[in-house]
């Protein structure tokens, strides 16, 4: 099947087949990651810029590892030394990068729409590593990968996403991605943390009553309480949040026996997740998600840069 995308910016531009190809490719990269020397020459010679204009450790590390395992040349560009801090415009920064003759830009920015703008300006491949409150497509893909590994398919799966949906770029990609794959979705949050139109994102249902919804869920996706991104105070206290929307040990009995728990990390223990759930040997797939991040990012780099098949088979 032909994969024709040049960018991974908006997950809604990807079809079910595109996403399945991405997941299947990711699965093939498992073998590389289980070798003693975890590197293949697939993207040798490709230059990838990790343009992280906002602090990020986990996502950037995950991309860097994926790039290195595929032998791409990568350059970290950003942080507190960004040209933006010195007053350079985004356009000028991107044009400067392009003058380096690069092949791909991985971009994280606190402003929505930046990856698209970079794609239009640069002409090189672009992966959105999170733009403002908008999207974070590789996170959605790694979430799908973990769910797929556990559940085998998406059709008819009941997935509940709990927490700060209004300010979550994770949800901006995950909810539409789940809809594309045929899952049923329910957004669970206090009204102060819901976007104006959850249906536009892809939420089939909205609930403020976690306990009434939990028994139906195959996947419970807990969002991080983003303390740094909460304008005003959308709930009275972390204590009350934990009581109403935290996945506590007490809620375990409400869940399906085979329900799994996902979280994009980093976890606020005692807020959205009790340690009992975070470390639950059967339910928690949180560390599998981290590993899946490497796999789907390798897959995305590979498919977008059109690497030869040698890498996987080598």
């Amino acid at each position: 099947m032909a994969f024709t995308h040049r960018h991974l910016i908006d997950i809604t531009e990807y079809s079910r087949d595109d996403i399945m190809l991405m997941l299947e490719t990711a699965a093939k990269f498992k073998e590389v990651n289980e070798r003693r020397i975890k590197q293949v020459p697939t993207l040798k010679g490709a230059t990838i810029v990790n343009m992280f204009n906002e602090p990020s450790t986990r996502t950037r590390s995950s991309f860097e590892i994926a790039e290195k395992r595929l032998s791409a040349n990568s350059l970290n560009f950003g942080g507190s030394s960004t040209s933006t801090v010195k007053g350079e415009s985004l356009s000028d920064t991107v044009e400067t990068l392009c003058a380096y003759k690069i092949d791909m830009i991985i971009v994280r920015d606190k402003h929505a729409g930046v990856p698209r703008k970079i794609a239009d300006l640069s002409g090189v491949h672009v992966i959105d590593a999170g733009d403002g409150k908008h999207q974070h497509p590789t996170q959605a893909l790694l979430d799908l990968f973990s769910i797929w590994e556990e559940k085998g398919s998406f059709e008819g799966l009941n997935v509940g996403v709990v927490g700060d949906i209004a300010h979550s770029r994770v949800c901006g990609s995950l909810l539409p991605a789940l809809k594309i794959m045929g899952a049923n979705t329910v957004a669970i949050a206090p009204p102060t943390l819901l976007p104006a139109r959850p249906d536009i994102l892809g939420a089939d249902e909205v609930s403020t009553d976690m306990d009434s919804v939990l028994p139906d869920l195959d996947v419970v996706y807990m969002l991080r309480v983003q303390r740094e991104r909460l304008e005003g105070a959308p709930f009275p206290s972390l204590r009350e949040y934990n009581q109403l929307f935290g996945l506590t040990q007490a809620r375990d009995r409400l869940m399906k026996p085979d329900a799994i728990v996902c979280h994009p990390g980093p976890i606020n223990r005692g807020v959205e997740l009790d340690s009992f759930m975070a470390d639950h040997p059967e339910r928690s797939v949180i560390l599998d998600q981290v590993y899946a991040g490497i796999l789907v990012r390798m897959a995305a780099l590979y498919l977008l840069l059109g690497g030869s098949n040698d890498g996987i088979d080598a």
Partner: protein
Amino acid sequence: MALMLKGARCIDPQVGLDEVCDILIRDGKIVEVGHDLSMEKGEERDLTGKIVVPGLVDMHVHLREPGYEQKEDIASGTRAAAHGGFTAVCAMPNTNPVIDNAVGVEYVRARANEVGKCRVIVSGACTKGLAGEILAEMGDMHAHGVCAFTDDGHGVQSSGMMRRVMDYASQFDCVVMPHCQDDSLVGEGQVNEGVASTRLGMLGWPAEGEELEIARDIALCRLTGCPLHIQHITTARGLEMVRQAKAEGLPVTCEVTPHHMFLTEDDIDDTYPTALKVNPPLRTSDDAVALVEGVVDGTVDAIVTDHAPHTDWEKDREFELAPFGMIGLETSLGAVLTNLVAKGIIDYDKMVQVMAVNPRAILRQEPVKLEAGSTADLTVFDPSEEWTVERAGFYSKAGNAGFMGCTFTGKATDAYVGGYATMEDGVVVE
């Protein structure tokens, strides 16, 4: 020096005129409107196929001078106005320094006299520095020719302060023109709260953030008796409040922009076009339809552009960092002719009413009529000229036009201010 405009269709609902005739102008005034007029000496213009109306007035324009001349100045902004067919604009006071005292008023008036290509009606701030805290010297500004007060760009947040503004302003024959925005609701809102804010992943600017202040200011109008003109109304419910206030007999008027009527939040696609970032934001298609109905039924008194020029480098950046505003002086008439008149939604009489007659009345300006004795401020347009909006054609310094690339039918060709041509055959006269 006499000027004869020959053969145009002359339309003025104020005098019940709509027929092909000649207009004779001398010493800045209309001397005669009639058939087969002749004169002994003077310039004659053949305007066959064109339409002449009382000069258009845009009562909501940011000329940006003093302080932001990189975006626009009085010379370029008034040329853009003339090019768009306007013979007068009302300049907003949110310059740097803010026009909140008589010195500022005199500066703008002097510059307009020196370099302007249309009349510049100066509005003054309601509060010092637009901060919403201390009354500006409205009396002094009024004595220096200000006929409207506004803190445009900001809502006056405190109800008590807004009451004081309106109470105080009511002693002058002046309208107070609020920009309705409740900051605690709007916050850092970027686009209409709802589909657009969710789809684009940006903070929403809710309709209620505008409607609450409209409701409040109508109540304060009732309390103080001060004439109230709601700026750039964008929502169906906000308009309904104005409709009810008018039915009650309150001295309330309002304005809408072409962009809020003819563009919607759905036009903001995933390229994050910053030209469409305006304040208040583009709303839903239902709101846009309601605004057009408001023009038709008379609830809307004026069509204005809220011409808000910015430099390319200010607009060419992240959507959330780009400033609000789009330019409109050179596209307004074309947009209205194409989207309202040509479609039969309104007739020329109504267009003249909302783009010339009512703005003058609200701003306490002498009426301009197509009859003997009136000041010869006239707009001439070709109703059939098809043209495409492009940067190259602008007299404005700025290029942040929301209608860029649109094709319109109908374009201003000539404009006269006090009998002098400011534009002839589509070219601004220098």
